[in-house]
Amino acid sequence: MTKRLLNRKTIIGAVSLLLFVLLFYLYIPNNTGAYTITVWNSALIYFMANIGTAIMLGSCGMVSFASPAFMGLGAYTSVYICMNYGVNPFITMLIGMLVSMLFAVLIGMALMRLNGTFFTFSTVALCQIAYTVYNGWKPVTGGPNGIPRVPQFTAFGWVAKTYFDNYYVLLTIAIIAFVLANRLGKTNFGRAMNSVRDNELVAKTTGINVFRTKVTAFAIAAGFAGIAGACLAHSTHYVVSTYFTYSNATMYIIQVMIGGVYNIVGVFAGTILITMLPEWLRPLQEYIKLVYGVGVILLMIFMPMGIWGLGSDFIKRIKKRYHIKDNVTPIGVLAEDQEVGK
């Protein structure tokens, strides 16, 4: 019985993977213009950063505004090493990620003593500090002028010249990030994070080091943000302090919440939606932000679990309507009953 189940799951998985590859690698780039691709590119970059925010929020239950700070750290580290030592961007990107994570561990050790609102506010402060430093430290960050002509992605003689080339690179990195993060929730560390989110007392009495779990989650989030920042710099060929402002942080948080914090696919949907929304709402002209604000409030009120929550409710209803039963594992029923119940 289990085998058959696995088969059905595998088939759905394989088909969706195939469709996914077809859609994202072939359909989109061949059916959109350069402009839409730039929008996709920024959505993919935001998505990478948002994975981190979603891990913090959905798994660990902490609202963090810090992702622009770590994006900046990743971006400037990568660009600095890349431009001064001529190292391949793909390698410097990883260095940027590691530097972000290192800083996150150090900062996290201080900030994770704070609970709830105070942690949130301290990340806002962190974001402000980071922006000020990026804007002021001219020798490294280029100050307010930023660093133009950042090297493009290159590998084995291939250079990402156009936005389409960047799209493939970013998509691949985003997929890797997605796969890495998606599995995280099913590990023991993922469960540790969830118990920290839901009930710290339960966490403590089941042997979970709450402090270390939080710091680690913060570092992981910073890692994703660092990669995203480096991608932003290399794909737009430019890095400047105004990429990493507090208002960007609020945008990221909105994207995550609109998508649905529980699931990374939801986060992806939210990111795409919020990034595309201004494009769709363009006919509204100066009322864009008004409609956007009202929309955000309504979404929070009527679907607090975001798009993902809406989607799973919808599927639940369909299953109920057509009497499709979920595969469940009954516990506590006698073995004989189990046979009969089937």
Binding site: Y35, T132, P144, N145, G146, T236, M276, W280
Partner: protein, 390 residues
């Protein structure tokens, strides 16, 4: 179940997205292209700086009406295409790339911030479409792009003029520079400091503040303590008013010189009496006494019911430069041909200045502006006391 939702969402998103993309693209092009000249304007029409976009659009629309009333350029009517660049740098780039790749325009004007312009200059190169910009950062010229054109005077050119005015006109010898710490302010302050030093004036203090700061008292306490005999201010339009008011309230009685933002109607209006006595090196003032300038102000005020801003006039003049360039083309009007024609720009009289492409100094070749006003604010209006040629 999770996979099912995933699949559903992915499909929905993708089709929604591409449908939108195609829909947007489908409206453009086609038959209209042959008869009209399409010029793009990328500006901020939503969010915190939407004022810039409004002024810019009003200037452009005024020009379009004038041109089309006279039968267009070379018999072809002009059509303006607008893109809203939103709040972030990324959305600026998207809007700009959309303009270049999908809107079928032959040239683009944009009044984005300096860092945004810096970001998209490579895109203009890639698509080989002339890009006229309303910013004044030397860093943009330094990129050495073929397609980027600066309408105003570059900071590097203005700064010596400002230093001269400070030293000769206002007798400053020990100066405090108050600058906004963004791409515009920082670049400008560097050049001004250099130019002042070259003229033998001492820069005793250089204080920088963020773009959202409106409380300068702690800075002014330092300025006062330093005992300077002159202040140079470089700030955003919205900051100029409070800065002038606070300097007035602090009774710091030294000659004052500001960047072009200090002569804008908005800054003077908000500062009221406190604006009196400020000198400014301004690209534009509504009191400019040239014939074309007065005609522009009159036409603008009649059409829109308010006085123009610098954003309007820069855009208006950029359109005039394009008009002259397109008129000089014999054959087909292509972006490349227009760009070639801009290289031949010679003494075009705009509302703000005359424009000329001067290839004698390669560093400033793409900077078209020729003159800048020295103004003094008297009784709530900027009086032109001189015009400095470059």
């Amino acid at each position: 179940m999770k996979k099912l939702i995933t699949l559903l969402l992915a499909v929905l998103i993708v089709f929604g997205m591409t449908a939108c993309g195609n829909g947007g693209g489908g409206n453009e092009g086609g038959g209209a292209e042959a008869e009209t000249i399409r010029i793009g304007v990328v500006s901020t029409f939503s969010g915190n700086n939407s004022g810039h976009g409004e002024y810019c659009k009003e200037g452009a629309e005024l020009w379009k009406e004038e041109v089309n009333a006279n039968g267009g350029i070379n018999g072809k009517l002009v059509e303006l295409v607008y893109e809203d660049n939103g709040d972030t740098n990324e959305s600026y780039q998207s809007a700009f790339v959309k303009m270049l790749s999908e809107d079928n325009v032959v040239a683009v004007y944009s009044n984005g911030f300096s860092d945004q312009v810096t970001m998209v200059i490579p895109d203009a190169d890639t698509y080989q479409i002339p890009f006229l910009a309303g910013n004044s950062s030397q860093a943009c010229l330094n990129q050495g792009s073929d397609y980027y054109w600066m309408i105003r005077l570059s900071d590097a050119i203005v700064s010596p003029t400002m230093a001269n005015a400070c030293v000769d006109l206002l007798n400053m010898s020990k100066v405090a520079i108050l600058q906004v710490n963004d791409s515009y302010g920082d670049g400008m302050a560097d050049f001004v400091e250099e130019a002042l030093k070259a003229r033998g004036a001492e820069v005793a203090l250089r204080l920088s503040f963020d773009g959202d700061v409106v409380q300068f008292n702690s800075y002014l306490a330092q300025v006062e303590a330093a005992g300077v005999d002159g202040i140079v201010g470089i700030a955003h339009q919205e900051q100029c008013g409070p800065l002038m008011m606070q300097i007035d309230a602090a009774e710091i009685d030294v000659p004052l010189m500001g960047c072009s933002q200090f002569a804008t109607a908005l800054a003077i209006d908000t500062a009221g009496e406190s604006a009196d006595g400020w000198y400014s090196l301004a690209d534009w003032t509504n009191e400019a006494d040239t014939e074309t300038a007065q005609a522009f102000v009159k036409a603008y005020t009649e059409k829109w019911g308010r006085v123009p801003d610098m954003q309007s006039v820069v855009c208006y003049d950029a359109m005039h430069i394009l008009q002259a360039a397109i008129e000089s083309i014999d054959g087909e009007i292509t972006p490349a041909a227009i760009n070639e024609a801009i290289y031949k720009t010679n003494n075009i009289v705009g509302a703000m200045s005359t424009y000329k492409c001067d290839s004698s100094n390669p560093a400033y070749e793409h900077c078209l502006g020729q003159s800048i006003f020295t103004t003094q604010t008297v009784n709530g209006s900027g009086v032109v006391i001189g015009v400095a040629q470059r």
